[in-house]
């Protein structure tokens, strides 16, 4: 277990370093940051001063290491546009996005796991067909369009829920449905196919021949094994949902990190963009790491891999 854990953590660190470098250089290549700060009418003297002040005159590698080192300490530099430290904005915006992400993943799980189990118990039955239809439709649904159609129905036509904003829990209902439905199909399909595999295995047949009740077999014996890979997938889906929050938060005007990312991109605020890309990808790396470690702990066979 220890060897596996050390290997897995090393991989996570390497991926983290690689992705952070990628996001830094990708945006670094986009032009002169000093001009971006001062605007097009700046004089050469001003530009030179800003370069020295911000350290843009140093070699790129040094700048990257310096940026990463500060970022690890929670210091992401100054926002070009807002003229305040990036971490101050992130402190306000990130909790909103994580709250939305948590609500959505819970919604997705509550929908996907019972549906997946029900579908697996009777493959090709009516329930299975319905679950499959929901999943196929969910994968094809453009989330921005789904969001707008929900607004048009529930906020405009019936006026049950607010159109946009993030002040009360009622503002989170529609975004949670949209983001959760986006994450649901993959989880449902995996639960279903794992459950079918496990239900066909020898130890379930033994349990049946021992005369255990179906409920006991399904929930105590089968589900426990079928659910293990779902943990990894859920962690990964949470990471994808953070990226998906860019679209959903923009539609519902939620003051979260996703909307901040879009705003920063639109106004060329590179330090904020870099910080959000870094935070989102590191969350993914960390969550998949934790899920893999949890998996290895639950399922000793995985540690050999």
């Amino acid at each position: 277990m220890l060897v596996y854990a050390v290997k897995r953590i090393a991989l996570a660190l390497a991926v983290g370093a690689f992705v952070s470098a990628l996001s830094f250089f990708l945006l670094y290549a986009a032009g002169d940051p000093a001009t971006a700060i001062l605007g097009p009418s700046a004089t050469q003297v001003d530009i030179d001063n800003v370069r020295r002040l911000y350290g843009f005159d140093r070699p790129v590698i040094i700048q990257y290491i310096d940026w990463l080192w500060r970022a690890l300490q929670g210091n992401f530099g100054w926002s070009y546009f807002l003229r305040i430290p990036v971490e101050t904005v992130l402190e306000q915006r990130l909790p909103v996005t994580f709250l939305l992400g948590a609500c959505s993943i819970i919604f997705a799980l509550v929908l996907a796991i019972p549906l997946g189990i029900a579908a697996a118990l009777k493959p090709n039955s009516f329930v299975d067909r319905c679950a499959l239809f929901l999943a196929v439709a969910g994968q094809a649904m453009p989330s921005f369009w789904f969001a707008l159609m929900l607004i048009s129905t529930f906020s405009v036509s019936y006026a049950i829920l607010p159109v946009s904003g993030s002040e009360t829990w009622r503002h989170f209902v529609l975004p949670t449905i949209v983001l959760g439905y986006y994450a649901m199909p993959a989880i449902m399909r995996l639960t279903r196919s794992n459950m079918i595999d496990v239900l066909g295995s020898d130890y379930i047949r033994t349990a049946r021949s021992k005369g255990l009740s179906s409920a006991q077999i399904v929930f105590k014996h089968a589900l426990r094994n079928a659910i293990v890979p779902v943990i990894s997938l859920t962690a990964a889906q949470f990471g994808f949902m953070l990226a998906g929050s860019v679209v959903v938060e923009s539609v519902f005007a939620i003051q979260g990190a996703g909307r901040l990312a879009w705003e920063s991109i639109m106004r060329g605020d590179i330090p904020t963009m870099q910080a959000i890309i870094l935070v989102f990808s590191m969350t993914y790396v960390l969550l998949t790491l934790l899920a893999d470690l949890l998996n290895a702990w639950l399922n000793p066979r995985m540690r050999l891999g």
């Binding site: 390497a14 196929v136 094809a140 921005f144 707008l148 994808f240 990226a243 860019v246 991109i265």
Partner: protein, 300 residues
């Protein structure tokens, strides 16, 4: 003994050819057939857009703005889907929009396939350090938030149909690489590949003649699913203002342009979004159906 009986015996022994079996299975697969019909309609729309569209999709007519579609009050058959905020014929824009979605979907699926297949095959066939390095690349790629990076790059390097295709093509190769790697790892151990190796065939020949033909089925399935993925991402980027630029009629952009009319003319949003949904649904149905027919063991 009649000759008729002889034929039947021969037929029983040899059975229908694999191709016939495949065809029969495809025709019986309802999802695949529905998907293919819808996809066919959209492809015809895109190919013959100039014949089908009754109006110029870019021609503005400020005297005829916000005409509702024919099934609503005030609608007419001259503009069956009505007109938008600049008085452009909505149906013609939808028809031309099919071109953009399909061109982007197909090109992205192809570019991503080239990258993904190369990486996946190399990683699965050579193993060792090559595999380690490529697995690392795949893991790193999965950690990159696609929409965010695509948006950022489009904002910095300009967003046109061409840059969109390149950006998405460079991002969406992961599934190809993962599946190709797993299948090549299995194929590599098969007897005929080993036999080719012993005979002294070059690596390139083994890959091209023995390994690649076996990957084709899986490749088609993933390409279909990635095409759907690319179309939906293009629409999302265009919706956010960093994809296809006006006045081009991209369905995602049309939803975005109709957004201000959500209170009174919500059909401006409903129609292009519905086309997007149905197209992506159809492509996914085709992909899932092909997987059932061509590569049933790879079903997830």
């Amino acid at each position: 003994m009649s000759t008729e009986l002889d034929y039947r015996t021969i037929d029983d022994v040899s059975g229908p050819s694999p191709r016939t079996v495949l065809l029969r299975q495809s025709v019986r697969h309802a999802g695949l057939m529905i998907g293919l019909v819808i996809l066919g309609v959209v492809v015809i729309m895109a190919l013959f857009a100039n014949v089908i569209a009754p109006h110029d999709p870019l021609a503005q007519n400020l005297d005829a703005r916000f005409i509702p579609p024919f099934w609503m009050e005030g609608g007419s058959w001259t503009h069956i889907f009505g007109t938008d905020h600049l008085g452009r014929d909505y149906f013609s824009r939808i028809v031309y929009g099919a071109r953009i979605s399909l061109v982007i979907g197909i090109s992205v699926a192809c570019i991503a396939a080239m990258i993904g297949v190369t990486l996946g095959v190399a990683s699965g066939y050579f193993g060792g350090y090559v595999d380690l390095a490529i697995t690392f690349l795949i893991t790193a790629r999965l950690a990159v938030p696609v929409i965010l990076v695509a948006l950022a790059v489009a904002a910095l390097y300009g967003s046109s149909v061409k840059t969109l295709i390149i950006i998405l093509g460079l991002l969406l190769w992961d599934r190809y690489a993962i599946v190709m790697r797993a299948s090549v790892q299995q194929i590599r151990e098969l007897d005929y590949v080993q036999a080719a190796k012993i005979q002294g065939c070059s690596t390139l020949r083994i890959l091209a003649a023995e390994v690649l033909p076996n990957l084709l089925n899986n490749l088609i399935v993933i390409a279909t699913l990635e095409m759907a993925h690319a179309i939906i991402l293009e629409a999302a980027l265009s919706f956010l203002g960093l994809g296809v630029q006006p006045p081009l009629p991209s369905w995602g952009l049309m939803v975005s342009e109709g957004r201000e009319q959500i209170l009174f003319d919500s059909w401006l949003i409903a129609i292009p979004g519905a086309f997007l949904f149905i197209l992506v649904l159809a492509i996914n149905l085709v992909g899932d159906g092909l997987r059932d027919v061509l590569a049933p063991d790879s079903r997830a």
